[in-house]
Every structure is written in C-alpha cells, then in structure tokens.
Amino acid sequence: MADAATKEVDAPEEAGVANVRAKPATDAAARPTKKLAWRPWLRAAHRDVGYVAVGLTFVYALSGIAVNHITDWTDGDPSFKSYSRTVEVGRIEGDDEAIVERLRTRLGIRETPREVYRASDDQLEILFDRRSLHVDLANGTVVDEGQEPRFFLRVANWLHLNRGKKAWTYVADAYAAALLLLATSGLFMIAGKKGLFGRGAVLVLLGIAIPVVYVHFAGP
C-alpha cells in the first residue's frame, strides 16, 4: 500500500507537482523513497490512444457485426440492398430502341441505358448504372432488378475487408498495434487492492479462456 510520500496521483501534471513538493527531509533516513509515477502516464496514454481509436473501432465493430449477422437481418449482402420484381408488360414489338423507350415510359425510368444487348430473339438485356431490365419478349415479362448501396455499411465493410489495400494496410496495422497497446495498458491502469492478482487475474484468465475453450471444443 502506498504511503503519503509515494502516493500516486491521477495525472502526469499532478505527478510533476507531487515530485516538486516531495522536498528532501532534513533527516536523510526519513527522505521519501522516490518512485516513478508511471501509472498516470499509462492512463493518459491509454485515454489518448483510446480517443484516436474510437472512429476505427466503430468502423470495424459495426462492420464485423454486420458481416456476422447480415444474413439474419437481410438478404446477406452487407454492402448492397438488392431488389427484384417481375412486371407483366404484354407483347412488345418494334426494334430494340423502341422497346427500350416503351419500357422506360412504362416503368418511369428517366435514366438513359448504358447498354442494350440482344441476348437472343426473345431476350433483351437493358442495363443502367445500378439497375437491369431482363426482358422476355416472348412472354411479355420484365425482371426489373438492381442494387442500392447501404449508406454506412458499404464503406465500413470495404475498409474492414481491406478491399482498397495499399495505404489502408498501414492504417489497419497501426490500429491493430493501438488495440494491443490499449489491451496491455488496460491491465495496469488501476492498481486495485491486490493489483493484477485479484479480480483482474480472474477476468484476464476468463478472457483468455473464451477463445481457448472454443477452439478446444469446436476448433479446426
């Protein structure tokens, strides 16, 4: 237990003041033991690294949850919402251009197609940027399908899976190092009555045991 002379304080600035105030006593034997006040610095480092890591933690955590559970919530694609509907349009005659114009009017599409492809006598493919019309000319049906990007998850997932490569690899590596620092510094931030050997040890062992037990029983 720290006595008054070696008591640690909460902030590096205060630690500095404490050191100044710990003037040498006239009796050398009574001089307080000089102890490095490292814990306040550790807490400060943990706090500041934690601040910087907040944004990336949200990106990785939300993207991770989405990738794990998106199949439970939606159609299984974390990045895009897909839709598809079949529209009965009846028999359509004329050349490809006339068919396209008629379908654009019928379906209320203002966009100009970027491709019109005659796959066969009965099948016409009309492609827009995020939308495709698959026209069955024999049956007079149109499958109207496409994808809409999800607002946040598409970008988060793109970053999480490091699809961009290059510079993001360095950012991801630095973030991983920051997480290691946060985990390690977190062990020693608050001394507690028994240090790391009390409740802290139980919780650390529990945290280590979770992956170990899982791998033991269900691992490769």
Binding site: T71, E115, Y117, S132
Partner: protein, 226 residues
C-alpha cells in the same frame, strides 16, 4: 444498483440471451428434418451437417463486377492445348444445360432444388483440351477473386458456367452476367462475375482459401475452415 447486483444482472441477461440464441439456432423445421433424412443418389443426406434451409440463394456480397453481357469475355486457358476466349453470345450458342440442384453456403444456409441454366465446364474444357499436366481448375472473377477446384470435380457434369437462375437471367447481386456453379462444394467456390477458367498443374489456393477457409470445401465433411 450495487456493483455486485449489476454483475449478477449482466450475467443472467447474457445467459438468457445465449440460451435463446442457441435454441433459435438449433430449432429445426420439418422441411429440414426431411432433407436430413432424404438421401442423394450418392448416398449422402440432402442437407449436409449443420446447414439450415432457405428458399432462395443469398447474394453474400463481394466486389461487384460489370454486369454487362456486351462486355463479358470468358478466357479459358492455362495448361490447355487450345486456349480461347468467348463472349456472351457465343456462350449462349454452346450446348445449354438446365439443371436443378442443391447449393450449400459455408455460412450454413442451403437452398434445395435451385434451377440453373448454363454451359458445362466440361464442354468448355473439351474445346480447350487440357494437357495431362492439368490437375486443378482456378475460377477467376472480377477484382482478382479466385477459387480453386480439383480438375476431376470441376469437370463433373453438374458444374456449370451459369447465366440463368430460376429461369431468369442472373441478377447483378448473384454475379451477372455469368457465374460458376459448383454445387457439391461450398458456394464460395462458385465464383460470381466470372472472367476466366484457368487450368493449372499445381494447386493455387484462392481468395478465401488463403484467408482461413478450407482448400477443398466439401459440405458433407464440413470442410469450412483450413
């Protein structure tokens, strides 16, 4: 609330959630029980272990490729005598196969009786004439995605280069205009937005295979992870 009471409440809540989730995951419908009890012609159950049923395939993401049939080119090359490239129209002129089969995703869903139209990889291989040294097939797709399959399994009659699903042209989310279909391996082997079929002498683990997934991916052996 005291700290002790908070910890107790948190533990109780976690336990209830875990039990609820487990019972949800373990719940089996009559359809699933029937699929487990039914055997395929090869003697294996229709529903591989630890899979559940869906009605339609899920897109499952991936870097979206170009859905344009006009831009589509499929390159068949590598350890072959006659490498070639075909476009969409030429693919449609090849012998077409309509096939009903079950597909199994490594994320544990299975779709029974999915209907596909396409060209057999074996027919494309017959045109390319693989050399004796060819041992594996690499399905190549948009953005560098690859999936490796042993040649004997890639040339099985139910392995297709597919352009229709459930009677309609392949949707964008499912790899339009053309994807691979390898129904007897986990579905990540069925590369979407297919661009090439490469025959190789030495196996080359693909996109997911080098990221911890199994090199083979047999659903009945639960070859999910490497």
């Amino acid at each position: 609330m005291s700290r002790r009471a908070f910890v107790r409440s948190a533990m109780a809540g976690t336990t209830i959630l875990a039990l609820g989730g487990a019972s949800y995951v373990l719940a089996s419908t009559d359809e699933e029980k029937k699929a487990r009890a039914t055997k395929r012609p090869d003697g294996r159950p229709r529903l591989p272990p630890d899979q559940y049923l869906l009605k339609r395939i899920r897109p499952m993401g991936g870097t979206v490729g170009d859905p344009s049939p006009g831009n589509f080119r499929l390159k068949v090359y590598g350890e072959v005598e006659q490498p070639f490239t075909i476009d969409f129209a030429e693919l449609l002129r090849m012998p077409q196969v309509e096939q009903t089969c079950d597909v199994h995703c490594v994320t544990k869903w299975t779709v029974l009786d999915s209907r596909w139209t396409g060209v057999r990889v074996a027919d494309l291989a017959a045109r390319a004439r693989p050399k004796r040294s060819a041992r594996h097939v690499i399905f190549e797709a948009h953005a560098g995605y690859t999936a490796n399959v042993p040649i004997a399994e890639a040339l099985a009659p139910n392995v297709l280069v597919a352009h229709k699903y459930e009677g309609a042209p392949l949707a964008r989310a499912h790899g339009a205009p053309v994807r691979a279909l390898v129904p007897d391996l986990y579905f990540w082997k069925s590369a979407k937005w297919l661009t090439g079929i490469r025959f190789v002498a030495v196996d080359q683990p693909g996109y997911w295979e080098v990221r911890g997934y199994h090199n083979h991916g047999d659903p009945w052996k639960e070859e999910r992870y490497g």
